[in-house]
């Protein structure tokens, strides 16, 4: 395997582009969130249509959260998924469940892969800098790839469909 000197190997802008994405996006998100926080109990038609609107059938209505500054947070996170199934329907319930499953898979995936692979990539022997040093492109020795194969098997695993 020939090692080619990459044109942009040592002047990566990856860290900078991460920061300069993160900063404006975070500012934007904070602005949006604070506007939401201020307007939440003043505009019930926008933020709680299911609680106030007469066109929903009684079983479709959802209980209104307290119209206060802070005390709505706890009941909001206490809303059961099952009550969403009953009030908002199958689609909404499955969408929430889908998001949760996705989050679970990616979280467990990062727990599996990060502790093994990130140190491996970092010490892979390549010349990449910044965030590029954490990618598989930084690994020089081909034998290291067996670790990737092993981790991939743990994560995806071909054995389960056979077992089923």
């Amino acid at each position: 395997m020939s090692k080619v000197k990459l044109p942009g190997a040592d002047d990566s802008a990856s860290l900078m582009s991460l920061v300069s994405t993160l900063v404006p996006v975070t500012i934007y998100a904070v602005v949006c969130l604070s506007i939401f926080w201020i307007l939440r109990h003043r505009c019930p038609r926008v933020y709680a249509p299911r609680a106030i609107l007469g066109r929903f059938l009684p079983q479709e209505r959802s209980a209104a959260l307290p119209a206060t500054w802070f005390s709505w947070v706890k009941p909001f996170f206490g809303v059961e998924d099952l009550s969403i199934l009953q009030h908002a329907g199958l689609d909404a319930y499955l969408f929430l469940r889908y998001l949760k499953v996705l989050a679970l898979i990616t979280f467990v995936g990062s727990l599996l892969t990060w502790p093994v692979l990130i140190p491996l990539h970092k010490r892979g022997g390549g010349v990449a800098t910044q965030l590029d040093a954490l990618t598989i492109g930084n690994v020089v020795n081909p034998r290291f790839y067996y670790v990737h194969v092993g981790v991939a098997y743990c994560f995806f695993s071909k054995s389960l469909p056979l077992a089923c």
Binding site: V4, L6, P7, G8, D11, S12, A13, M16, S17, L18, V19, S20, T21, L22, P24, V25, Y28, A29, L33, I35, F36, C43, R45, V46, Y47, P49, L53, G54, R55, F56, L90, D91, F95, R97, V101, L102, L104, I105, T106, G109, L112, T113, A128, L131, D132, T135, I136, G137, N138, Y145, H148, V149, A152, C154, F155, F156, S157, L160, P161, C164
Partner: protein, 494 residues
């Protein structure tokens, strides 16, 4: 821990199947008319007959509806509705105008309404607005005849008790709402009179057409709605073959609510259905390929620093300060990609309609699968490849045989772009959808400037439908991005 993903997916599948069964069999759902009704499309002419359908499906059939071609009636009804809306708008405008003028006049006379003001216009002012309108309206318009308004000599603060238009007391004829219909060769007409006359013409036509359609004169559409007495029978009919020839009565659906039926696609024959499906799939495939052009540009931008050296026009790029370059390489392409992909579901929804899918939910389902293909190809494959390729394009030109190694070395760098993309998706898109900026504008700015009560009611009462077809694939693709680069970059090297 092994096989974690597959374990989770299988568990979810089993859970979903159980939940779906429980939902479908719950009395709330099972007793509904829609879940007891099966829609058959591509029904041969011989079977467009209630008796024959009853014979096929047995005694459990309670109702058979054969929709007929109602294009003409629909056209008339649409025109009637438009005319009625226009009349309503004009009436509201007139009322507001009259009220304003009346208040102005009362203020001008100095009395706060207790003493009667003099009549504003002599009766001659309340003349016909235009020759056309008045001649048409002469004997039809008993209620609105502006020529016959007797502006009583004793006007008062409360509304005068007069025959005809009360507004004529304050509003001169030329100030009344008017428009220029094409049917009248763009000559000006009084809107209220014109629309009232039009409604008078339209109503009997609609009634006549309706009566003949109900009698069964219309051409049947080739589709049948069959209502069964219970859900089990409906499912039985739904899951069995109803006709011995292929494609006939084989397109069937259960549980379609009337408000989500796409009526114009019910009449399509099976040949046309196949043809349309083929064409739309070709269109979507072509769309995926050509949509990659903007995606390529975005992917290139995300690694623009690497190619700037070789493109003389971009000589200024490496000289930019770090943060600005970071914005160009990180934020800009991520936001551009998000916006670019926003347009796609709407185009796909049009495609689904074109394809002849009979219900809105089915269109959403089509959008979901087609949009996922779009997402994977554009957001994932194309952007990864171009982001990697653009950074090594010169090295490839100098030494083409090294492409394999270069790609394998550069492909993983595309993950930087996805960090930006996921940040934008989670923080910016998430915050925006939490803010409901469109709804805020609709309810607190647009609703304030609405003149018509109907519009205000609609804004207050109408709930926007959630288009799931455009929502799921975005997150599915995030899951793909989260899991598979790992695989891809590994296989790129082998």
């Amino acid at each position: 821990m092994s096989g974690f993903i597959l374990f989770t997916i299988y568990r979810e599948c089993i859970f979903y199947i159980n939940l779906r069964h429980a939902y479908l069999m719950s009395p709330y759902h099972a007793k509904r008319l829609s879940s007891r009704t099966v829609l058959f499309a591509n029904v041969p002419n011989r079977y467009l007959d209630e008796q024959r359908i009853r014979k096929v499906f047995g005694d459990t059939v309670t109702n058979v509806w054969i929709p007929t071609d109602t294009d003409e009636l629909e056209k008339l009804v649409k025109e009637r509705d438009q005319t009625a809306r226009r009349l309503e708008k004009a009436e509201i405008r007139l009322i507001k105008l009259a009220n304003e003028l009346r208040r102005k006049q009362m203020a001008a006379t100095g009395q706060n309404g207790s003493v009667s003001p003099p009549p504003p216009f002599p009766s001659t002012v309340a003349s016909p607005t235009s020759a056309v309108a008045s001649s048409m309206a002469e004997d039809l318009e008993k209620g609105e005849g502006s020529g016959r308004v007797s502006t009583s000599a004793t006007p008062m603060s409360r509304l005068p008790d007069v025959n005809g238009s009360v507004a004529a007391q304050w509003v001169p004829a030329e100030k009344r709402p008017s428009h220029r219909p094409i049917a009248n060769y763009l000559r000006r007409v009084d809107t209220i009179k014109w629309t009232r006359n039009r409604l008078k013409i339209l109503r009997p036509q609609i009634r006549k057409l309706k009566r003949s359609l109900i009698k069964g004169d219309g051409a049947p559409l080739g589709a049948v709605f069959v209502e069964f007495s219970n859900q089990a029978d409906a499912e039985r009919a739904f899951q069995t073959v109803a006709h011995h020839r292929p494609f006939h009565m084989s397109t069937r659906y259960i549980g379609i609510r009337p408000d989500e039926v796409v009526w114009h696609s019910l009449g399509l024959g099976w040949g046309q259905r196949i043809l349309r499906r083929f064409l739309v799939l070709a269109l979507v495939t072509g769309g995926i390929i050509f949509w990659s052009i903007p995606a390529v540009i975005i992917g290139t931008i995300s690694n623009v620093k690497s190619i700037a050296k070789y493109v003389p026009i971009l000589f200024w790029l490496p000289k930019l300060p770090g943060p600005i370059l970071g914005v160009i390489q990180g934020l800009l392409p991520a936001v551009a990609l998000t916006l670019l992909m926003r347009i796609v579901p709407w185009i796909l929804r049009g495609c689904g309609r074109l394809m002849g899918l009979p219900s809105l939910s089915m269109i959403e389902l089509f959008v979901q699968s087609a949009y996922f293909a779009f997402q994977v190809v554009q957001v994932f494959l194309v952007t990864t490849l171009t982001s990697a390729a653009s950074s090594s394009v010169m090295a490839v030109i100098q030494d083409p045989l090294s492409t394999k190694d270069l790609l394998s070395q550069n492909l993983p760098k595309a993950s930087n772009f996805y960090i930006s993309y996921i940040l934008v998706m989670c923080l910016a898109v998430g915050a925006t959808s939490l803010l409901h900026i469109v709804d805020l504008f609709r309810h607190h700015i647009m609703a304030k400037s609405m003149s018509s009560p109907r519009m205000m009611f609609n804004i207050w009462n109408r709930v926007k439908t959630v288009h799931w077809g455009g929502l799921f694939p975005v997150f599915t693709n995030l899951g793909v991005i989260g899991k598979f680069p790992f695989f891809l970059s590994g296989s790129g090297r082998c």
